[in-house]
Amino acid sequence: MKFVVIGADAAGMSAASRAKRNQPDMEVTVLEKTMDVSYSA
């Protein structure tokens, strides 16, 4: 299963992290246009 996420903030990284926890063999790719991820505004 190839799971692709566009956007690496709250929703995107929550999904990517949990998908990987649920299924460690899943191929998870996150595309982020900036250089910043997962910050609290």
């Binding site: 956007g7 929703a11 929550s14 649920n22 460690p24 996150v30 982020e32 910043d36």
Partner: protein
Amino acid sequence: MPYNLAAPDRDIEELVVRRAEVFRQKQGINLLTGHCASRIDPAGRTVSGTTPEGKEYELPYDRLLIATGGTPIIPDLPGFDLPGIVTLKTLADGRYLKTLLKTGKVKKAVLVGMGYINLEMCEALVRLGIEVDMVKPGPVFLPWLEPSMAQSIREEIETRGVGIHAGHAIERIEKTAGGLQVICRDLQLNADLIVVGIGIRPNSTMAVDAGLELSVGRSIATDRHARTSDANIYAAGDCADAYHVVSGQKTWIPLALRANRAGWAVADNICGKNAELEGIAGTAVFKVFDFEVARTGLTASEAAEVGFEPVENMIKARSKAHGHPGSSPIQVNLVGDKKSGRLLGAQMTGKDGVAHRINGPAVALYCGMTVKQYSQTDLAYSPPIGPTWDPTLTAANQLLKKL
């Protein structure tokens, strides 16, 4: 972010919850920063865009999540692109502002918009010794709050020397010899820094181009599984809509908890776990100087718009037991439905004990409780924590008389 900006000794990088290397190395996520995605092909199931080196890439997917967030709205007026005019959304915005504030050259700031981000910014800037004026075109300060409650917040801010200019449509911003000037028809405000905080719009262009259905405020339409109109594509966070728990209708209220929760639901759903999302109540709290302002559910006018027959009642109570030192006034406005007796929403203001007290009514909304049922709940009491009758119970008792 405003709290970090208010504290010169706090590093802005503290706001990063988890660094990219941790996601990559410890969690095994292929996190590609600097990779702008620009096009989704739902038929071919690919995403394409450009790498940091400017090369085109195309990536195949089985399941896709659009979590593109929102972008601050900037008025389409002359001068809003001048240097010294900022929004507060990304970490890059925060870094820019932190550096600017450190120079000590910002003596006067004008905040365009009076929503909670700018109210938090107002406090942050005043704490840094900066002179602040707030301006917006709408005539009413915090229009979703009961007028006397809004007035007490306004007075709290004005007491700190902040100018509140509601009802002034901005015509343009001009560069002056000394800095910037915000120009309204009958008002000119000088500034070294202008913060625009009039809301965000969902980043849904890519979804539109991919032929996905849109919803309230051009957010991406999703079902209770966070799935879009394409079965392989999900959307979550500030770019996606939600059901309102009170009205059952679609709404768009971009807030952090929902973004995190919807992200989890997407992960579970693509792993075959069937995660269904409840609606949202728009529960929110913010602090401005000594005041806490909280809300959950619908205001009376929002309730009327979606077909309820709302009745509201505002009460004044105390944050601690009668005569207990440190007690201060709390205002609670409850909204109920005349037809069904159901609790529809609550707004609360005060200097003590407001923030977490909103969670009682918030949970009641999820249970679909009537005002009468809420009035019968067994809430905690101790003199330093609250009165025997919790202020939300007093509010429910009083509202019952009108229902």
